[in-house]
């Protein structure tokens, strides 16, 4: 006999008001944005230097240059070789990371607060005085080529590359893998890498973000000391308009004989980060396939047991990135899974969404936002979004209120506008012999085994 009434979930307590932490914004005279956020909880600091040196501004023959340049930064500086650089950084417990995307390159350092001045000096040295010795450039190029070979046998990586190829018109940056292709990478020379860094590692339209247990005055003086005399703006800019490869629904099976599972991707070109529909569309995606209790996951995993999990996602980029549903399913249920995904998309755009679903997704988005404000790195990455996409400075201060005010009608109209079941490209990486017959029998459109 239970003493407590367990039959109803306990009610939530009072909501505790919590704001996005205060950010001091400014700029150096060279145009480098400066964002400082004091977070004194633990003695740690995240520094993130964003430069507008991304893969999106490269022509096809040079694809991969931005990524390789970023990777080769660890190869050494004018003052020390690669091993000595690693020792200098790690000797003070600093973690250096370089990540290169379509829009730019982020060079970041995490370090305990008492070692920040040394870390700052090293960050500046890596960025402003890279050496790119040939032996290290050769190495990172070989590593990238080996990585491409590795991806060529990884079903999930194969599916991602196939999505890019089938969604986007040929020749567009988004039609190729972000790291470049075997042929473009093979041809990148050391001189091109040095030239790229010289031209694009420039302060204009970039930013420096510092979050953690810091003194803002000290940060300002360190920033001027190390980055103040740096000048210029990146020479290359994104200059392309996105087009779909086709508006016709088609099925692509990338044959991977012997696969015991099919990697399934289903979608089309999505929308840019700057779309006014960003919030309603994000809510629509959450309830479609962005949470565990989304329509897709409850259907494919919890009702049918087809998969370990299924997600849907809009990749919001400066230009329209892909919208896609992704999952991995057993060979024998591949066709059924594709049919279920497509019927979920159809009913979403035909019938729209319900108020209950929107309430749940909004509550999730507003609540989970607070869970991602814990660490210096999380806050730095939010501030980086503001920089990259030119969002207003108070964007995250208003985020929760804006999420809560999204209406059911707005979500319905956003998903109707941006999800088009008739135009999806169905991409499957799997054993063609065992799946192509049943997938073709769905009659979705022309099927090609590649």
């Amino acid at each position: 006999m239970s003493l407590l009434d367990r039959t109803q979930p306990p009610a939530s307590g009072e909501i505790r008001q919590f704001d996005f932490p205060e950010v001091q914004t400014g700029a150096l005279s060279n145009g480098l944005d400066l964002k400082i956020c004091v977070l004194p909880r633990l003695p740690i600091v995240s520094v993130n230097l964003f430069l507008r040196a991304g893969e999106g501004s490269l022509v096809e023959g040079r694809a991969g240059t931005a990524v390789l340049t970023g990777d080769a930064l660890e190869g050494g500086t004018l003052k020390r070789n690669g091993s000595s650089l690693a020792e200098a950084l790690e000797g003070i417990g600093a973690r250096l990371g370089v990540s290169t995307g379509w829009e730019g390159t982020s060079i970041s350092v995490s370090v305990l607060a008492d070692r920040l001045p040394e870390a700052f000096a090293l960050l500046a040295e890596v960025t402003l005085e890279p050496d790119f010795p040939s032996v290290e450039v050769d190495r990172v190029r070989e590593q990238q080529l080996a990585e491409i070979r590795q991806r060529s046998m990884d079903p999930s990586a194969l599916a991602s590359d196939e999505v890019s190829r089938r969604f986007y018109a040929e020749g567009l940056p988004y039609a190729r893998p972000q790291v470049g292709t075997e042929s473009s990478i093979s041809s990148v020379t050391r001189d091109q890498i040095r030239g790229y860094a010289e031209a694009c590692y420039r302060p204009g339209s970039g930013g420096l973000i510092i979050v953690g247990d810091v003194d803002p005055e000290q940060i300002k003086s360190l920033s001027s000391e190390y980055f103040g005399s740096w000048i210029g703006a990146p020479s290359a800019v994104d200059n392309f308009r996105v087009d779909a490869q086709t508006r016709e629904r088609r099925v692509w099976i990338l044959d991977r004989p012997g696969s015991v599972q099919s990697e399934v991707r289903l979608g089309h070109v999505g929308v840019a980060r700057t779309t006014p529909n960003y919030l309603p569309l994000s809510i629509g995606n959450l309830l479609l396939g962005g949470t565990f209790t989304s329509r897709l996951n409850l259907n494919l995993r919890e009702r049918n047991g087809f998969t370990y999990g299924v997600r849907s996602r809009f990749s919001f980029r400066s230009q329209p990135g892909p919208f896609q549903v992704s999952t991995a399913v057993g060979n024998e249920v591949t066709a059924s899974a594709v049919r279920e995904i497509l019927s979920e998309l159809e009913s979403l755009v035909v019938d729209g969404v319900t108020r209950e679903e929107v309430d749940a997704a909004r509550d999730y988005a507003a609540g989970v936002f607070g869970l991602h404000l814990e660490t210096a790195g999380q806050i730095a990455s939010r501030l980086n979004q503001i920089l990259v996409y030119g969002l207003p400075d108070d964007y995250y201060h208003l985020y929760r209120d804006n999420i809560r005010s999204v209406s059911t009608e707005e979500v319905t109209s956003a998903v109707k506008a941006h999800i088009r079941p008739d135009e999806v490209q169905v991409v499957i990486v799997g054993d063609a012999e065992s799946i192509s017959g049943s997938v073709d029998a769905l009659g979705l459109g022309p099927l090609e085994v590649v």
Binding site: R6, G13, G91, I92, T307, G330, V368
Partner: protein, 425 residues
């Protein structure tokens, strides 16, 4: 850096449930984390993979929580949740806005006390399918996906509980019944085999009343039965054991494993620091030698697994370039690992500095704090060990590392697993 001072408080309910509390109201979120002292090491022959399958069943509802409601309520609150199964333990955790602490306690207590009334064959069959798909996705359909199974079999003898992989075999998963679910629950999912940690923003004056209200009436279980099989084993393998696999893999990879002292042994700290010298960061020995200087490997990976049952394992792997041979990779790994007998103090200092940064970064998350506190309480009856982790590693001397390299990382304690791309005919 000054000594870490993560605050904590310990309690124990009459039914044996251990509680760790760690308050921090900087951000209005709270982590609830439970470690049960059961994992794949407790599985009987013919039941491999069951501990993990059971973990899935824990999300299928309980007496007062309908199927899918667990996920729905936590997501509605704006929380995140998950669970993982490993050799020695299974953990369940959620982080929620602090106003929903009570919801998390209700959900966790309901499945700890009243899981079985909600079980049925349909749920078992559904989750068995989900787990089989997980196995396909993460192991069977992945290049090198079966490495852990093969390496464990080389390092641990057949009767040892770490001989078999956590994911188990399809045949054993197929054989699992509802009776097995009930027996496993009754034996291992008892409050006296669990630690509950609450970390983050909560009201210190009320939290124990809540814990008592939700967990207090769950009955204690019997003492936990001894481990199946025979977990006695020698501290070293005694030889170089090897397996050479020709498989559908893109690049040659050599995985080298060693039997090392268990996590519960004081010597484990020596293994941890040794592994950091070998593979943590880009100034580490293996990265420097194999990746940067000799360029035989495109990447290296190292781990020291924190396992409890008489011996743990340290492993390293090197993945080659298209023209690297497994022999080159093996020779380079062997040479660099053996050279650790000449470890230097500056390397130890570097490893400690990096470890410190990594630990502080991990502790920025209340979820990670809670997870570590649960682990230290369950494994060592000492959650405060978290505040002394760095001291424990800092106490390791360069002589201990040299001795460790000589006694544990030599040819008489080496498991070599080679993956070589299948030759196309």
């Amino acid at each position: 850096m000054n000594q870490l001072a993560i605050p904590l408080e310990r309690h124990c309910l009459d039914n044996g449930l251990k509680i760790v509390l760690s308050q921090d109201s900087t951000v209005p979120i709270v982590a609830v984390n439970i470690w049960y002292g059961v994992g794949s090491r407790n599985e009987l022959p013919g039941h491999t993979g069951f501990a993990h399958l059971f973990e899935h069943m824990m999300f299928q509802g309980s007496k007062h929580v309908p199927k899918n409601k667990h996920f729905e309520l936590i997501e509605r609150a704006g929380g995140t949740l998950n669970a993982t199964t490993w050799f020695d333990r299974t953990n369940y955790f959620e982080t929620v806005p602090s106003r929903d602490l009570e919801l998390a306690l209700w959900l966790e207590s309901d499945r700890m006390g009243w899981m079985l009334p909600a079980m049925d064959q349909e749920k078992l069959d559904n989750q068995r399918d989900v787990v089989k798909n997980e196995k396909r996705q993460r192991y069977d359909n992945q290049p090198y996906g079966d490495w852990d199974q093969r390496l464990q079999a080389l390092i641990y003898p057949k009767d040892h509980p770490y001989h078999h992989p956590v994911i188990g075999s399809v045949e054993d998963l197929d054989a699992a019944t509802l009776e097995d679910v009930a027996a496993f629950f009754g034996t291992y999912y008892v409050p006296n085999n669990a630690v509950l940690t609450i970390a983050g923003d909560f009201d210190e004056s009320q939290v124990m009343d809540l814990v008592q209200r939700y967990f207090g009436e769950i009955e204690a279980g019997a003492p936990i039965p001894p481990l199946p099989g025979d977990s006695c084993l020698e501290p070293i393998i005694g030889d170089t054991v090897r397996e050479h696999v020709f498989a559908e893999v893109p690049l040659a990879r050599v995985i080298m494993g060693f039997r090392i002292p268990p996590y519960s042994s004081e010597d484990f700290a020596v293994a941890e620091v040794s592994r950091a010298l070998l593979g943590m960061g880009r100034a580490s020995r293996l990265y420097r030698a194999l990746v940067r200087e000799r360029r035989v490997a495109k990447g290296v990976v190292t781990y020291a697994f924190p396992l409890l049952t008489n011996a743990s394992m340290l492993l390293t792997w090197a993945t080659g370039y298209p023209d690297s041979t497994p022999e080159q990779l093996e020779a380079a790994l062997t040479e660099e690992i053996e050279a650790l007998v000449e470890a230097r103090q500056s390397e130890v200092d570097r490893a400690i500095a990096l470890t410190e940064t990594d630990l502080v970064r991990a502790l920025e998350h209340v979820g990670e704090r809670a997870n570590l506190l649960s682990m230290f309480d369950l494994y060592f009856d000492d959650p405060d060990r978290l505040n002394h982790e760095i001291d424990r590693l800092r106490a390791v001397t360069v002589e201990q590392i040299r001795d460790f390299a000589a006694s544990q990382l030599g040819s008489d304690n080496r498991a070599v697993l080679v993956y070589e791309p299948k030759r196309k005919s």
